[in-house]
Every structure is written in structure tokens, then in C-alpha cells.
């Protein structure tokens, strides 16, 4: 009986010891890599933002000048949406929203939508998606030019009822064999434009970093 007890205790100690070693190893790696990882994530977003909003349009730090909308129902989903502001000489020149289209064929499609201060789209990019390779993934810039079709569009170009894919009687192409993916993207871009139109005043009056909130 006593033997069993010591064996049990010893096993417990050994297990505990290895848990500690494991935690130590992971914490050590974490503390070494955490700055680099945060930096990577910043650079990744910044690279995407810069591709949409060229240097000529802004002179602020795009990443630090942002607001997050937690209640993002206006964008048609539950995920919080971050809005980055591009300002030049303290004047708002564009905003970049990061809405998520929740109704892709295979889950969420994360987008970046850049809107000029006058409500015209600079462009749209897909940050991440899980659409079917060869069908729905034509929303990627390295697979097709489809996403560039949003450049220069606005709420009046085309009018709201034509903000659909052609199959639904709208103005935007779908892909052969894949309607759901472009439908989700078009819908989310439209909602983002509508959100900006309705809340424009918020951004224009709070264009300087010191003012907002």
C-alpha cells in the first residue's frame, strides 16, 4: 500500500516537473519572439494599407490613427471593424475599413476597403479567405483582376440597386462556377460605402489624432 503511494507521488512530481519545464520553454520562446511577431503583424497590415493608399494621399502614420467599431452590425457581421484614417495636412483624405464578409462560400472573407474622402472607392483587397482554389479564389489579386473592378466606384456608380452580381441583375461580374464568393464581397463593400456615407461627419470632424474620442 505504502509503495503504491510513493510511486503515485513520484509520478506526480515527475509530471509536475515536466509541466514546469514545458511552460518554461514556451514562455522563453514567447518572450524572445513576441516583439518580432507584433512587428510582423503591423508590417503585414501596413503593407496592405500602403498598397491601397499611396504616399501622395497621406502624411500620417496609418496604423496608429485608427478607431475600432466593436458593434459592427452596419457592416453586416459580428466581427469588430477597424477603420484607419489617412490624413494629409490634418485633412482627412481617405479611410480604410477592414470589414469581414461572413457569408463567403467557405467562411469569412476579410477585406480592406479604401474610400476616398468624397465617397469614391480607391480600391478593395482581400486579406484572407478560405474560398475554393480555382473557383472562388479569383478574388485574390494574384489569381485575377476581378477585385480591381471596384476601383473608382461609389454609391452612385452604379446606383444602389445595381450593387449586385450580374446573375442577380446587378453590375458586377461573377466567376464561372462561383457566385457566392463575389456576391458576399460586393454586399460587404456596398455596406461599407453606406456606413461611410452615413457616418462621414464623424471622421471629417475628428480628423486630427488629438481630437478623436
Amino acid at each position: 500500500m505504502a509503495n503504491n503511494k510513493t510511486l503515485l507521488l513520484k509520478s506526480g512530481w515527475v509530471l509536475g516537473l515536466f509541466s514546469l519545464i514545458g511552460i518554461g520553454l514556451v514562455s522563453l520562446t514567447y518572450s524572445i519572439t513576441k516583439d518580432k511577431i507584433a512587428d510582423n503583424q503591423r508590417m503585414f497590415i501596413l503593407q496592405n494599407l500602403r498598397e491601397l493608399v499611396p504616399e501622395t494621399l497621406h502624411d500620417n502614420d496609418l496604423l496608429s490613427d485608427n478607431i475600432t467599431i466593436v458593434d459592427a452590425k452596419a457592416f453586416g457581421n459580428q466581427q469588430p471593424v477597424t477603420l484607419y484614417k489617412a490624413t494629409k495636412n490634418q485633412q482627412l483624405s481617405a479611410i480604410i475599413a477592414s470589414p469581414t464578409a461572413a457569408d463567403g462560400y467557405n467562411g469569412s472573407i476579410k477585406l480592406l476597403v479604401a474610400i476616398r474622402e468624397n465617397g469614391e472607392l480607391i480600391g478593395v483587397r482581400v486579406v484572407s479567405h478560405h474560398e475554393t482554389p480555382g473557383l472562388g479564389d479569383a478574388i485574390d489579386t494574384n489569381k485575377s483582376d476581378w477585385i480591381y473592378g471596384f476601383n473608382g466606384r461609389s454609391l452612385t456608380n452604379p446606383e444602389t440597386r445595381l450593387w449586385r452580381v450580374k446573375k442577380d441583375g446587378g453590375d458586377f461580374d461573377q466567376f464561372t462556377g462561383a457566385t457566392i464568393t463575389p456576391r458576399a464581397v460586393v454586399k460587404t463593400v456596398l455596406k461599407t460605402l453606406q456606413y461611410y456615407e452615413a457616418n462621414k461627419h464623424l471622421f471629417i470632424t475628428t480628423a486630427t489624432p488629438s481630437d478623436h474620442e
Binding site: L7, L15, G22, T29
Partner: protein, 227 residues
Amino acid sequence: MNSYKHILKNGLWDNNQAFVALLGLCPLLAVSNTVINGLGLGLATTLTLILSNSIVSIIRHQVGTEIRLPVFVLIIASIVTAIELAMNAFFYELYLILGIFIPLIVTNCSIIGRAEAFASKNPFTASFVDGLAMGLGFTAALVTLGAVREVLGSGTLLANAHLMFGDSAKDMVIYVMRDYEGFLLAILPPGAFIGLGLLIALKNIIDKRLAKPKTQTVNFSIDPEKA
């Protein structure tokens, strides 16, 4: 020396974890759509195997048989988490592509399999070599399947090489077929199953051919593989 050679051959060919033991099929099938994806996951798995085999071998006398498995799982999970963090830090874009399959290395049966079947019974150097050989065998399988699927599916080889080797590797991509429309089936999951099946069949044919000279029986009957 001979035994190391044996261990190497075992890992790379005779007991290849992917083609013979058929372990780790989930990452093998999911991530083998391009050479670079396969190589990335293969090397991460190799590193895990080497580290877990080495550590298990070092502690094999200290840990009693009753708690052997939980301790192995703890070790493997810690190693994989550390590797995941490191990849996140140093190969960020590749990390984004491989996504969930890096943490899922923990569940690759071949890792705990080697710890249990080999490292817990063998000295350090042999266990290290075994981890290396098994890992490289698995990597070779991933890369081969990745190459087949990438050529058939998109007509390229080594696309996205810069994700692993830095910007200077951007020109490494080989366009096997110009203006290729792409064969969708090869990229989709069924293509992975079919490709793996064909590669296993190929390996079996090679093994059969190699085995023939040893057996003295001269057999001129029609071999189905030759037809």
C-alpha cells in the same frame, strides 16, 4: 556505423512515415498543394521529431512507464508551441499559409510513435538520427506530393519560394508549363488522395523491382505493373 545507416534507410525509405506507415496523413494531404508549403511543414515536423526523440531518449531512464505517455505529450506539445512561435516570428507569411497545420504537428502520430517505439528504448545518438531520418522521409513525401500537385494543378514549381528563402528567391519559381490553365482536381483534396495513392503504388513497384534480383526464382509470368 552500420546501424545508423540502417536507421537512415529505415526512415527515408523502408519505414517512411507517410508512404509506408501512413501516419500524419492529415497534414500530408492538406498542405501538399505546393512544394514550398510541403517543405515548410516538412522541416517543422523534422525539427519536432529530432527534438522530441532526443529529449525522450535522454530522460528515458528517469520517467517510469506509468506516466511515460503524458510526459511525451507534454514534451511534444511544448516543442511544437515553441516552433510555432518561432515560425510566426521568422517566417510570417509562410506561417499564415500553413496556419492551423503547424500547431497540429502535435497530433501527428508519427512523432509520439517514434518517441514510444524508438527513442524510449535507444541511446541519444541513435534517437537523434532516427528523428532526423523519419523527419526527412516525411519531408520528402510532402515535397514529392507537393511537386506533383503543383505541376499538375498550376503548372509551376517552387512558387512562393521567397516565403522561405527571402526575397532573393523570388526568381526560383519554375514555369513548367506556360499559360497553363490549371488542373483543379490536383489542388483540391481529392487530388491529394489520388496523388498519394499513385506515389505509394510507385514506391511499391520500385520495391518489387529492387527485391527481384535477390530472389533467385526466375519468373517470366506477366507482371501486371509492366503491362
